[in-house]
């Protein structure tokens, strides 16, 4: 398998992308942040210094110390450990939500562009309906119908953001369809599925990637906000948003406490956006000519 021509092509293209990204500080910055988040999420039990659920009423609201590097929260739990464990829902929400948005968006966008007619009108109508609601209202309404939980947050966020991908995919597909190389493929006898999967999708992927960088970041913000309102994760499960909500009450007495989850959220957003940007530039073959 490794000798096959398909593998060789993939290897050559990947090497090129990697070489370009190696020179880009954004790739390192974004990449390391993402790695950090992912490692925290996956290896939380191994990394976290303490049990995030263990309460210790005698040592509440303490500042940073040797025992608790980031201090303790209102129930005496180690903040650092909680922060690390909370990377899990962060990863689940951002990746899960984006996957739902992108997959449904691509499917609907492609259908709209290729089939056209009434189906396209229906799909566009669905997009418009979703977009017509201010997102906060739509999300709150859906959450109250389905009931708050991590899964419902992921699904609802995914569905709410989806129209953006659908519209972009449709628009770009319509324009890529007219490209010369697509016409050339048709003249060779390629059928629609080949054209879609081999010619169109890879070329619109870059736009999708840019959007997803931004959206993954904003999904984390949403989850934080919803949890802050008590509509996201429910205790004892914890996310950075939940931590924000808990720290908010103690902002006078223990001001540092709110800093950590806020920083975590900001850092994650930064990581996703910069990495996506770097990847987008690297994936575009025309942007990287050695003059």
């Amino acid at each position: 398998m490794f000798k096959s021509q398909k593998f060789f092509r993939f290897k050559k293209k990947s090497i090129r992308v990697i070489k370009i990204m190696k020179k880009d500080y954004k790739a390192y910055l974004g990449g390391s942040i993402i790695m950090l988040i992912l490692i925290s999420a996956i290896f939380a039990p191994l990394i976290a210094p303490a049990d995030p659920y263990k309460t210790n009423v005698t040592r509440r609201l303490e500042g940073p110390s040797l025992q608790n590097l980031l201090g303790t929260d209102s129930l005496g739990r180690d903040i650092l450990s909680r922060l690390i464990y909370a990377a899990r829902p962060a990863v689940l929400v951002s990746f899960g939500g984006i996957i739902i948005s992108v997959i449904i968006g691509i499917i609907l966008g492609l259908l709209a562009a290729y089939v056209g007619g009434i189906l396209e009108s229906i799909i566009l109508f669905i997009f418009d309906v979703i977009r017509a609601f201010p997102p906060i209202i739509l999300i709150l309404v859906l959450l109250s119908i389905i009931g708050p939980s991590l899964l419902s947050v992921i699904v609802i966020l995914g569905v709410t953001i989806m129209p953006r991908y659908g519209r972009v995919v449709r628009a770009e597909t319509l324009s890529e369809k007219e490209e010369d190389f697509v016409e050339a493929a048709r003249s060779l006898g390629a059928d629609n599925s080949r054209i879609i999967f081999k010619h169109i999708l890879p070329n619109i992927f870059a736009s999708v990637l840019v959007l997803s960088g931004m959206d993954m970041a904003s999904m984390i913000m949403w989850e934080a906000g919803l949890s802050f309102l008590g509509l996201g994760l429910q205790p004892p499960l914890s996310s950075w948003g939940v931590m924000l909500q808990e720290s908010y009450q103690y902002i006078q007495t223990a001001p540092l406490m709110i800093l950590w989850p806020a920083l975590a959220i900001m850092l994650t957003m930064l990581g996703f956006s910069t990495f996506a940007e770097s990847l987008r530039v690297a994936l575009n073959p025309k942007l990287n000519q050695e003059v």
């Binding site: 096959s4 050559k12 003249s187 390629a190």
Partner: protein, 326 residues
Amino acid sequence: MALVEVKNLKKYFVNNEGLLYKLANKGPIKVKAVDDVSFKIEKEDTLAVVGESGCGKTTVARSVLRLIEPTAGEILYRGRSINNFDKRELKTFRKDAQMILQDPRSSLNPRFIVEEIVSEPLYIHDQIEDDFNLLDRVWELLNLVGLSKRYSELFPHELSGGQARRVGIARALALQPEFIVCDEPTSGLDISIMSAVLNLMKKLQQKYQLTYLWISHNLHEVRYISNKVAVMYLGKIVEITDTDTIFNNSVHPYTEALFSSLRGISDDWNYKEREIIEGEVPSPINPPPGCSFHPRCKYSFDKCKKIEPELEAVEAGHLAACHLYN
């Protein structure tokens, strides 16, 4: 039996703007890009189609391969009408009839490497059993067009215009077609590259008994590469005959005008003293009544303003659409 026969081909593009627009213009705007075009191409012929912007030559090229659906008319390949081909038959047709597009680079997917581009037709038509032979076949094709093995790993933007053009030709040859539609294959290329491409196309034609439909606006090139020429104006063929006759004995006033601006290096005249035809090609949305060339024609008379001339034989193998000869 001719390899390719086009019968009364019509392609109208309809511009469906909103209601108000339609009311203002008394109906949707119809652009008659190709208006009743017929011709035959015999095996191993090169039929050149010349004409200026808006004449419809590009639309004809695409219609012949059914990349655009004709509004009316029939296209016969080896005697069979391709208009009614189903998906399977169309795919088989595409093995035999290929196209080389005008812009050398834009017809190559910027994310594919050359090897992928050239082997794509083989994948489409299931002519690959395993990967091992694939590279050899690709290298063979690249070699045919004068590119060495190392080009197979490059991206389109790493190629020069001439090299990209050759990759397009290699791809077109992959399935061993019989008929190739060449849409301005040398446009945008430097002189020295152009000659290389022309010689290559001629050599390939001899080697593989290829038949060409060659769209061009370069009359020198037409002289070199074709044996038959069709001159188009505003969607119609105004004259069609063999190349020698077109250059030495053309009859249609538009052909005369077109060729009068043709200047070879050894010619004696300069642009200052030349009698140049006036006016521009009218818009295909609103062609003049009668003969569409009459407003610019120095020979036009009454009949030309009212009745459209038919394409009729002026002598054997020479057709023209002009009232001077009917």
